[in-house]
C-alpha cells in the first residue's frame, strides 16, 4: 500500500533523510518510531506530497507522490503534527468545509460530518466553535477531518503528542476502530509505549537512517540479541550468580532490585536447563520467568550504536 524507495532529502548541507526504504502492506498499522528530528515528519510530508524528495521515490497505493500528487491526495488522509483550526466555525461546519474541499457532494456532506463526529466521539460538540475545543478534542476532530473522503491510507504524525493519558487512551481506541475498518495506518511517534500494543509493524529511524523495519516481533528479535530471564532466589544471590556466570549459554548476568536478570542464547529448553542447573546447585529458586523483549529495548539498542 505504501512503498518508500531510497528516499533522500537534503536541506542545504543537512541530510534529513538518507536512503530510507520501507513498505507497508494493506491493512497494517505501521509505527514509525524515532527520536525528535530523526526524519519522521519529513518522510510523512513527502508521502503526503507536500514536499519533494531530493532523490528516491515513494508510492501510495501505486501513485507516485512526486508525479501524481492528486491521486495520492485522493487515497490519503493526513494529520500533521502541528496544525491549527479556523476561528468562527463549528465542528460540523469544519468537517463540512473539508468534505467540500475533497469534492464530496453537498447532499452527502452532512451525513459524513455526523458519522465522523460519532466515530471520534464529538457528536455532543457538533455546534461548538472549533477554536474553543481542548487540544485532545482538536486532535480527534483533525483525525475526523483526515477521514472525510474515506481514504484507504492514514498518515498520522504524532497523533498522541501533547495529550493527557486519558485522551491518549481514547485516541488509541479510535485507531483500533479504524484498523477494524481496514485502513492502512502510519503513525509516527517518539513515545514508544503508545505504539507497542497498537502496531503490527514498526520502523525505527534515527538521524535520517532506517535502523530496522518489519513486523514488531521480528524487529525486536532482530535488534535484541538474546532472550532474558528474571530469577528470584531465597537469600542466595551470590551463590546463584556464581552458578550462572560460568554457563556457556549465558551472555550477561546482573543483579537488579533483589532479582537476577540473565541474558541467554537459546530456546525454552535452554531456559529449562538453566533452571535445572540452579536447583541442582542447591539454589532455592522462588521465581523464574522469561522477559519479553520490548520495543523500547529494541529502540534503545538501535539508536545507541550511533552515540
Amino acid at each position: 500500500m505504501i512503498a518508500v524507495e531510497q528516499l533522500t532529502k537534503i536541506y542545504g548541507r543537512r541530510t534529513a533523510l538518507d536512503a530510507v526504504s520501507f513498505e507497508v502492506p494493506r491493512g497494517e498499522i505501521f509505527g514509525f518510531v524515532g527520536p525528535n528530528g530523526a526524519g519522521k515528519t519529513t518522510t510523512l510530508r513527502i508521502l503526503a506530497a507536500l514536499m519533494e524528495p531530493t532523490t528516491g521515490r515513494a508510492f501510495v497505493d501505486g501513485a507516485d507522490v512526486s508525479r501524481q500528487p492528486d491521486r495520492v491526495h485522493e487515497r490519503l488522509g493526513y494529520m500533521p503534527d502541528f496544525f491549527g483550526v479556523y476561528d468562527q466555525l463549528t465542528a460540523a461546519e469544519y468537517l463540512d468545509f473539508y468534505a467540500a474541499c475533497y469534492r464530496q457532494p453537498k447532499a452527502r456532506r452532512k451525513k459524513i460530518a455526523d458519522d465522523l463526529l460519532e466515530l471520534v466521539g464529538l457528536t455532543d460538540r457538533r455546534d461548538q466553535a472549533v477554536d474553543t475545543l481542548s487540544r485532545g478534542l482538536k486532535q480527534r476532530l483533525c483525525l475526523a477531518r483526515a477521514l472525510v473522503h474515506d481514504p484507504a491510507v492514514l498518515l498520522l504524525d504524532e497523533p498522541a503528542s501533547g495529550l493527557d493519558p486519558r485522551a491518549r487512551v481514547e485516541m488509541r481506541e479510535i485507531l483500533k476502530e479504524l484498523q477494524k475498518m481496514g485502513k492502512t495506518i502510519v503513525i509516527s511517534s517518539h513515545i514508544l509505549p503508545e505504539l507497542t500494543e497498537l502496531c503490527t509493524m514498526v520502523g525505527i529511524i534515527d538521524q535520517g537512517r532506517m535502523r530496522a523495519t518489519g513486523p514488531v516481533q521480528d524487529v525486536i528479535r532482530q535488534l535484541t540479541s538474546g532472550r532474558r530471564l528474571r530469577i528470584t532466589v531465597l537469600g542466595q544471590r551470590e551463590e546463584a550468580l556464581a552458578v550462572l556466570k560460568p554457563l556457556p549459554m549465558i551472555h550477561a548476568v546482573s543483579a537488579l532490585n533483589g532479582a537476577i536478570e540473565a541474558e541467554y542464547e537459546g530456546d525454552d529448553a535452554t531456559a529449562a536447563a538453566i533452571l535445572q542447573t540452579l536447583t541442582a546447585g542447591g539454589i532455592k529458586v522462588s521465581g523464574f520467568s522469561q522477559l519479553e523483549g520490548g520495543l523500547e529495548d529494541a529502540f534503545m539498542r538501535a539508536t545507541e550504536d550511533q552515540q
Partner: protein, 350 residues
C-alpha cells in the same frame, strides 16, 4: 462535475464569508468606512453652503457637485488603499502561521482555487464597501454637474484599483511566510501604485516637442495611479502641466474644477475655468507653456494616445493584476515547480 462547475467550485469562499461576517470586525469596519466618507461629504457640503450663503446660481451648484464628487472619489480611493492590503496580505500567510495551509494542500482543491477563493472573499467585502458608499455619492446629484457615466467610470477605476491592490496583497502573502512582512510589502506596493507612479511623473516628466501637433501627455507609467483618471473623470477636463517638462506641475488640470458657466439675462452664456475649490485659477488663466493644450479627457499623445485616462489606468492595472496573480499562483503550491528550480543532484553516498 462538468468543467465549468469544477472551475467555479470553491468552498473557501463560503468559509471565508462565514468567518468574516461572524466577527464584530466587519460591521465595525463598514460603519467606520461610512462614517469617514459621510463625514467628509458632510464637511465639504457645509463649507460649500457656508461659502454660497450670499449668492448661488446653477453654475455654482454644478461646480459644487463636481468638487464634492472629486473629493469623495479621491478619499474613497485612499480609504480603500488602506483597507484592501489589510484584507488580503494575511490571506495565505495567516494560513501558514496557523498551520492550516497543509490541510488545504492535501485536499483536492487546486492551489489556484485557494488563491482565487481568498481573493474573491476579500474583494466581495471591498465591493460591499463600494455599494455602501453609493448613497453618499448620490448626494452629488443634488447639485448636478456630474453625469451617471462619470460616476460609473469613477467606481470602475476605484474597483479595479482595489482589485489590483488586493491581488498584489495576495501575491505578497504567498511570497512571504509571515503576515508582517507581507502586510508591509503590500502597503509599500499600494503606496508605489498610488503615489509612486505620480511621483515618477514629477521626477521624469515628458519632454515637450515644440513642433508636435498634439499636446504632451505625462509618462505612461503615471497612468498606473488611479488618481489621474479619477481627477479627469471628476473634473471632466484634461490633465495638463503635470508630468510635462516646463509645466508648473500642478496636478489640477487647466480647467480646474471644471468650467463655471453663467447665463446673462440676454441669453449669452459665458464660461471660465476654475479650480476644484471653486476659485478662479489665475495661474492657469494667464499662462500657456505648451504649444498645444490638451482638451477633453482623452490622452493627447504617447503610448495610449486617444484613450480615456481611465481606460489606460484600468488596462495597465489589469495587466499588473494578471502578473501578480500568476506570480502568486506559482509561489503558492507546496512543491514549487518553478522553471529555475530543478531537482537537486543525487547526493553522494557516504
Amino acid at each position: 462535475m462538468n468543467p465549468v462547475a469544477t472551475a467555479l467550485w470553491n468552498p473557501i469562499v463560503a468559509k471565508e464569508y462565514r468567518s468574516r461576517m461572524r466577527t464584530w470586525r466587519s460591521p465595525v469596519a463598514m460603519t467606520v468606512y461610512i462614517l469617514l466618507l459621510g463625514g467628509l461629504g458632510w464637511a465639504i457640503f457645509s463649507s460649500m453652503t457656508f461659502a454660497a450663503r450670499n449668492s448661488f446660481n446653477a453654475g455654482q451648484a454644478a461646480n459644487y457637485g463636481q468638487g464634492l464628487f472629486l473629493y469623495l472619489v479621491l478619499f474613497q480611493m485612499v480609504l480603500l488603499a488602506f483597507i484592501t492590503p489589510a484584507l488580503t496580505a494575511g490571506a495565505i500567510s495567516s494560513e501558514r502561521e496557523r498551520q492550516t495551509i497543509d490541510l488545504l494542500f492535501v485536499t483536492k482543491l487546486p492551489s489556484f482555487s485557494i488563491l482565487w477563493g481568498k481573493l474573491l472573499a476579500s474583494m466581495s467585502f471591498v465591493l460591499l464597501l463600494l455599494l455602501l458608499s453609493v448613497p453618499i455619492f448620490s448626494l452629488v446629484f443634488l447639485f448636478g454637474g456630474i453625469e451617471l457615466d462619470q460616476l460609473a467610470a469613477a467606481f470602475l477605476v476605484t474597483a479595479v484599483s482595489a482589485l489590483t491592490l488586493g491581488i498584489i496583497g495576495i501575491a505578497c502573502s504567498t511570497a512571504f511566510r509571515r503576515t508582517l512582512p507581507a502586510t508591509v510589502s503590500a502597503y509599500g506596493a499600494a503606496f508605489v501604485l498610488l503615489a509612486g507612479s505620480l511621483l515618477f511623473g514629477l521626477l521624469f516628466p515628458t519632454d515637450v516637442d515644440p513642433n508636435a501637433t498634439s499636446a504632451p501627455a505625462p509618462p505612461a507609467v503615471t497612468y498606473l495611479s488611479p488618481i489621474i483618471p479619477l481627477i479627469t473623470i471628476g473634473t471632466n477636463g484634461p490633465i495638463s502641466n503635470y508630468g510635462v517638462r516646463n509645466g508648473n506641475n500642478n496636478i489640477y488640470p487647466t480647467a480646474g474644477g471644471g468650467m463655471a458657466c453663467s447665463t446673462t439675462p440676454g441669453g449669452v452664456q459665458s464660461c471660465y475655468p476654475i479650480g476644484p475649490n471653486g476659485a478662479v485659477s489665475k495661474a492657469i488663466l494667464g499662462r500657456s507653456y505648451n504649444p498645444v493644450q490638451a482638451r477633453g479627457t482623452t490622452i493627447p499623445s504617447g503610448l495610449f494616445s486617444g484613450w480615456q485616462y481611465w481606460q489606460a489606468t484600468v488596462t495597465m492595472q489589469l495587466v499588473l493584476s494578471l502578473i501578480a496573480l500568476i506570480a502568486g499562483a506559482l509561489l503558492l503550491s507546496p512543491i514549487r515547480h518553478l522553471p529555475w528550480r530543478r531537482r537537486a543532484a543525487a547526493p553522494s553516498t557516504t
